[in-house]
């Protein structure tokens, strides 16, 4: 396989893996919590690295995912104190975790390849160089397999707990009443989010992951009122944006993840303006029509 094809496939898989939990984040309005998670998993990676001393260890993934979930817990604990607003709690927690991570990296891992740049920005171009060998045979890039596994986990979780996810997202009180714990499902979803963020960090970088999660989900949200259709169209948008994004990035010789993020934003903005269901133009026309109807009514009543 040529490396462009490999990069495209990795980009598509990363995008879909991010878009799936992203749909639920958009519906719940907790996308900024996921932004916090994508920053704090760095601390988990660093801490796990100190224990294993190996950048390829699966323990890194476990550690980082755990820190991601811990972030959610700390944010919620702070919010429960009612001493600050909910978004201030997010804004206070993740810079601290992130600062600790940066401090540890600069202080203790100077001579190790744990580059803060690549963690934050990611570089898909390098993904095909890191090969995975099975029984001595080169089977493909490592990132492809790790992301494929994460995508699989996301798909399995969402299809197994589809009903639970749906009911806790739309009506948490009702869910609790019929015996489905919204808290358990919420933490399950957040575990997925941090696992996906950890998996995506070296191809996409931790700042853009949130765009990969929210962009396609929000685009789909603007087009439909049905959850299943929303999931489906989010996946399609994710795949399309990343295929076009990779091509455009090669054409301009620039950052791939950045290009895909720009496309995610552009498509979302376009749909926001022209969507036939919730778009800006549609809303404006509706308003105009109501105005006319009201004027007409007013005229009729004054005539009488």
């Amino acid at each position: 396989m040529s490396s462009i094809a490999e990069i495209t496939i990795i980009a598509v898989i990363v995008s879909i893996a991010c878009a799936l939990p992203g749909v639920f984040l958009v519906l719940r309005g907790t996308t900024m919590v996921s932004d916090a998670i994508t920053h704090t998993v760095l601390l988990g990676i660093v801490l796990a690295f100190f224990i294993t001393r190996d950048l390829n260890s699966p323990l890194l993934m476990v550690g980082a995912t755990l820190i991601g979930v811990a972030t959610v817990w700390v944010i919620e604990a702070l919010q429960r104190t009612k001493l600050m607003s909910n978004d201030a709690a997010i804004g206070v927690v993740f810079p601290l975790f992130f600062s600790l991570a940066i401090l540890l990296i600069t202080r203790y891992t100077g001579d190790v390849h744990l580059d803060t740049d690549s963690v934050l920005m990611g570089e898909l171009v390098f993904a095909p160089f890191d090969r995975m060998t099975l029984f001595g045979i080169d089977v493909g890039p490592r990132a492809l397999f790790s992301m494929l596994i994460i995508l699989l986990i996301n798909v399995v979780f969402i299809s197994l707990f589809y009903k639970e996810l749906k009911v806790t997202t739309f009506d948490a009180a009702f869910a609790a009443a019929i015996g489905i714990s919204p808290v358990v499902i919420y933490y399950g979803l957040m575990t997925l989010v941090s696992l996906t963020a950890v998996g995506a960090y070296d191809s996409v970088g931790s700042i853009l992951v949130v765009g990969f999660m929210v962009g396609p989900g929000l685009t789909a949200y603007l087009l439909t009122y049905e959850l299943k259709k929303m999931l489906g169209s989010a996946v399609i948008f994710a795949a399309l944006n990343s295929i076009i994004g990779v091509q455009a990035a090669f054409a301009f010789d620039t950052s791939i993840a950045g290009m895909i993020a720009v496309l995610n934003g552009l498509i979302c903005l376009t749909v926001f303006i022209i969507s036939p269901k919730k778009g800006l133009i549609k809303n404006w026309m509706l308003k105009q029509k109501r105005k006319e109807a009201f004027d007409q009514k007013l005229k009729d009543t004054t005539k009488r």
């Binding site: 932004d35 600050m84 206070v92």
Partner: protein, 309 residues
């Protein structure tokens, strides 16, 4: 250790940088008070990320690092991002934080695209993407510090001039409108001040940590008072102390980055305030709870004794 600290304190470079970070802490504490009270804490995060394309375009136009042009570019793209976020969250069913994250990441992505093109262009100097992300307080020049001090003075003056307008629109925007104040102008002025503070801070602490500097001081200060002027003053002091102390620790120590150290010092202030504040603090609340529990138990015992008779 002690001689080292005094040596650092007398060092000219340190004095310049500490003045810069201290002043930055002060102004972001003061401006940040409005941000947290208006419950727009995460807007700062979005704004700092979305300044990147503006900085990139400014660099492309000038082909070198002209600080004022970069600043202007950053302000323009920051304000554009704010406008987009407001438009999306007000004119459609899109939730505020979804709009925030989409705008944040696509602006940052655009910035990354522009920056990568600049860096791959062999004729151009390095645009300094690194220093944008993490900040480089130690590289602050005297000129930059004067810019920070000057801009902060202007903003402090504006705040004292428009004190009552800002106050009304922070706490009760509708009431402000009925009094005949123009909400558009007040909001634009406030947003511009927030954007300016963020962009001044980018060089010192970087894109990710500047939002902490904006939120942190006022969250800590809010625990000690219910009065806007007191909270704002305290937030300024906490910000300034964190900035200067963080700079000192990172200068005295070996291989300690300035930005993260400032945030950690600031976080200690926050945790301390949350725990020890006499009125709202967690410890005070616990104590009050125990006292009530004790009083209640005594009451029950008394009742039981009375019934026993």
């Amino acid at each position: 250790m002690w001689t080292q600290i005094t040596a650092v304190l007398n060092d000219y470079t340190f004095q310049v940088v500490a003045l810069g970070t201290g002043m930055l802490g002060l102004i972001s504490g003061v401006v940040g008070t409005y941000v947290t009270l208006r419950k727009e804490s995460l807007l700062g995060d979005a704004l700092s990320h979305s300044a990147l394309p503006g900085i990139g375009i400014g660099f492309l136009l000038m082909q070198r690092k002209e600080f004022v042009v970069l600043l202007l570019g950053a302000v323009v793209s920051g304000l554009m991002a704010t406008g987009l976020i407001q438009l999306m969250s007000k004119k459609s069913p899109v939730k505020f934080d979804s709009a925030l994250s989409v705008v944040l990441s696509s602006f940052f992505g655009l910035g990354l695209v522009i920056m990568t093109i600049i860096q791959r262009n062999p004729n151009a100097q390095q645009a300094g993407l690194d220093s944008f992300i993490f900040g480089q307080a130690s590289a602050m020049l005297t000129r930059d510090v004067w810019l920070i001090v000057g801009a902060s003075m202007i903003m402090l003056l504006l705040i004292s001039l428009f004190w009552k307008e800002f106050k009304i629109f922070t706490f009760d925007a509708d009431y402000g409108k009925t009094l005949g104040f123009s909400s558009r102008w007040v909001n634009l002025l406030l947003s511009t001040m927030i954007v300016l503070t963020i962009i001044l801070g980018l060089e010192a602490v970087g894109v990710i940590l500047i939002s902490a500097l904006l939120i942190g001081p006022s969250v800590a200060a809010r625990q000690w008072s219910d009065k806007l002027s007191v909270v704002m003053g305290l937030a300024g002091i906490i910000g300034a102390v964190s900035g200067a102390a963080g700079t000192m620790i990172s200068t005295v120590g070996v291989r300690i980055p300035t930005g993260p150290t400032i945030v950690i010092v600031l976080s200690i202030f926050i945790v301390g305030s949350l725990l020890f504040s006499p009125k709202r603090g967690l410890i005070a609340k616990r104590m009050k709870f125990y006292k009530k529990q004790k009083a209640f138990r005594q009451q029950i015992r008394r009742l039981e004794e009375e019934q026993g008779k």
